[in-house]
């Protein structure tokens, strides 16, 4: 009953599972039906990424991903309370989605070709544009990632982060030594105790790690380079196009609502708006829910529950949160960002 090298065996098992999965019969076209039958949406979330999905001492979930989950539940079930959150590690997450344990995965997963095309799942759209950066101690007097020659760099395994790190430095022709950890807290502990000269992860986390976890925040600096594109968003199982469309368009509705100034607070007044775009979105003139198999109030309920995309951002990762991240790439398209919802009509 002894179990050495936990991580290796787990990875081997998952590799085996991944081989078998494409042959599995996805429960086609039935996700919405199943959700309605059990009157509960099951969201796969992270085991704790602050600002995206995390629990408090009472076990209540919050975060950007959690709010998107609440919005989806409100749109399809009309009751945001009926949600089950399943915390999943980065190694379990895709298997859990594929096996039907969760309806939608909101787990900070980066959208990549391989994941989208070969894991039996579909990335719907992007809810957060992230990129990978570096945190270094100031005493090393490093101002660019290119100066990390022969450096040991702490990184978490099982993520795209590890691969990006190797790719970037190979391309730059710089030799580095990645020091790989399975868990975030061990990686951080190692970095802050001086095991590595740099720590790398998504930039959204770096500023926060520096201010909250560093023994002395002023001794550390975030380097300017972003070495990768990390588009994060909800993922669904393949074989259910209707459910795929619903998840995608709930996110678009949140983004569109921000563009047209519909907030949680002014939702009721906006229902009387004469703007045809707002009328369509809120169902006051046209029934935009019908093509999705939902009722006409779908988007209004989602907005009432979670607020528009901008509100969700501010509350969880923006100025209203401990992370205090700038909107950056996640601003609306007409404000220099990438958030662009196709027309809801």
């Amino acid at each position: 009953m002894r179990l050495p090298t936990f991580a290796h065996r787990l990875r081997a098992t998952i590799a085996l599972a991944a081989l078998l999965l494409p042959f599995a019969d996805a429960h086609a076209g039935k996700t919405l039906e199943q959700i309605r039958q059990r009157a509960q949406l099951v969201c796969g979330v992270s085991t704790g990424v602050i600002g995206f999905s995390s629990t408090d001492s009472q076990g209540n979930w919050s975060g950007l991903d959690v709010d998107v989950c609440r919005a989806i539940a409100a749109a399809v079930l009309g009751n945001a309370g009926k949600i089950k959150y399943v915390p999943l590690t980065s190694q379990q997450r895709f298997t859990a989605l594929q096996s039907g344990d969760v309806d939608v995965l909101l787990n900070n997963a980066t959208w990549t070709l391989t994941r989208d095309a070969s894991l039996g799942l579909h990335f719907t759209t992007v809810t957060y544009y992230d990129g990978q950066g570096f945190l270094v101690p100031k005493r090393l007097k490093i101002s660019s990632a290119r100066q990390l020659k022969n450096a040991e760099i702490c990184v978490q395994s099982g993520t795209t982060t590890e691969k990006n790190l190797n790719d970037y430095f190979r391309m730059q022709g710089i030799k580095i030594k990645p020091v790989v950890f399975e868990k975030l807290e061990t990686a951080l502990k190692a970095f802050f105790s001086g095991r590595c000269q740099a720590y790398t992860t998504d930039a959204s986390a770096l500023a926060f790690i520096r201010s909250k976890e560093a023994p002395k925040p002023d001794d550390y600096a975030v380097l300017p380079e972003l070495i990768s594109k990390e588009p994060l968003g909800p993922v669904v199982r393949r074989g259910d196009d209707e459910w795929f469309a619903i998840v995608k368009w709930v996110v678009f509705a949140l983004i569109e609502a921000e563009e047209y100034g519909i907030t949680q607070a002014n939702l009721e007044q906006m229902k009387a708006s004469t703007d045809p775009v707002v009328q369509r979105l809120l169902g006051s003139a046209e029934d935009s829910g019908k093509p999705l198999g939902l009722d006409r109030e779908w988007a209004a309920r989602a907005l009432k529950t979670a607020g528009n995309y901008g509100e969700i951002f501010e509350r969880n990762v923006g100025d209203g949160s401990p992370r205090k991240l700038p909107r950056g790439l996640n601003a609306q398209w007409n404000k220099g960002g990438l958030m662009y919802a196709p027309p809801i009509r």
Binding site: A17, A24, D56, S57, K84, T95, L184
Partner: protein, 354 residues
């Protein structure tokens, strides 16, 4: 005077019998004196016991922040179980622990014990699962923390033992080759894969293989995995015990006119089990700690609940050490009790050979 002399004699004989022994004693004593003050300072003197993140931050890890346990103990002990309903897992755990302790201390006779278990296990499931007597239903995937650890370990051992006896007998019998091959196949198959794969297969791949619409409770699947796994190991332990019983015992039993099964039940098996009690306790301790692996299938038992409780909370995330020490203490109490029970059992059963 004689007291001091006796003490001195004891010291001399046990701690300073020769130069090496004396040196070792001094080194160890020096080590204790060197480390102990720092340890006491960290665990007690400079420690923060209040659930006050600011106070914990102020001491900068110079002392333990037990406040993390004060703040998160409910999450650590009961995992994702709904907060308002946590009296139920508490009661269920106390009930099950009580029955276990009563069994271990032999406070009841055989029929009393049987009745206690028959009542306690359904009561445990009723309290945890609800759905009856006005209790809100709570799905088994929401069960977590210590009750889950306790349940998996208790049922794991309770069900694995009879299965292991059957398998051990199956391999031990030489006149039923098919049965022997089957038992050998089972043991080698299960023992040849890590528990973590068994759990992963049981939890994630099983539902894909099953026809859609049919689903088996995840806890049941995982529990079955643990039982099958523990039984494979335990059966080999027991087979070793069976082989240790001398052939003369078989002959003596048949000379007394006992049938083969009677001989097995009353003569061979009791001696075989007695011979391997330390190994059985070993298995029990292993099963207890191996339950921590169910985290890989999203059941958050004690260790899983701890990481879940701390990973998502920036204020408390840096106090993992204190959290792990807390659950380490729980595991240690459990394992130490088991080994005391094993020692007691050995003493009692050895009555015949003294």
């Amino acid at each position: 005077m004689t007291q001091t002399a006796a003490t001195r004699e004891w010291l001399r004989r046990n701690l300073f019998s020769d130069a090496w022994s004396g040196l070792t004693t001094l080194l160890l004593l020096g080590g204790v004196l060197y480390w102990l003050p720092g340890l006491i300072e960290w665990t007690l003197v400079k420690a923060v016991f209040r659930p006050d993140a600011a106070a914990c931050g102020a001491i900068e890890h110079a002392g333990a922040c037990w406040g993390v346990v004060a703040e998160k103990y409910r999450f650590i002990l009961f995992g994702r179980y709904p907060h308002a309903e946590q009296w139920r897992p508490l009661l269920a755990t106390v009930l099950l622990l009580l029955v276990i302790v009563v069994s271990g201390l032999r406070l009841l006779n055989r029929s009393g014990l049987f009745a206690a278990w028959v009542l306690a296990l359904p009561a445990f499931f009723l309290l945890m699962g609800g759905g009856l007597l006005g209790l809100t239903p709570v799905g088994s995937d929401q069960w977590g923390g210590f009750p889950l650890t306790l349940l998996l370990a208790t049922l794991g051992m309770l069900l694995a033992f009879p299965l292991a006896v059957l398998v051990a007998l199956g391999r031990y019998q030489s006149d039923l080759p098919l049965l022997r091959i089957l038992c050998t196949f089972y043991v080698e198959l299960v023992r040849g894969v890590p528990l973590i794969s068994v759990l992963f297969l049981a939890s994630f791949l099983f539902p894909i293989i099953l026809p859609p619409g049919i689903s088996i409770d995840v806890l049941l699947r995982v529990q079955a995995g643990i039982v099958l796994f523990a039984a494979a190991y335990l059966s080999e332990t027991l087979r070793g015990g069976l082989q240790a019983v001398s052939a003369g015992q078989h002959d003596a039993a048949s000379a007394l006119g006992l049938s083969r099964w009677q001989a097995m039940r009353w003569i061979i098996l009791p001696q075989a089990i007695r011979a391997v009690i330390p190994s059985i306790v070993n298995s029990a301790v292993s099963v207890f700690k191996d339950t921590s692996l169910v985290t890989v299938v999203s059941l958050y038992e004690l260790t899983g609940a701890l990481s879940l409780a701390l990973a998502g909370d920036a204020e408390w995330r840096s106090y993992y050490l204190e959290g792990y020490l807390f659950i380490g203490l729980i595991y240690w109490i459990g394992c130490y009790s088991m080994s005391r029970f094993g020692a007691d059992l050995e003493r009692r059963l050895a009555a015949g050979v003294r």
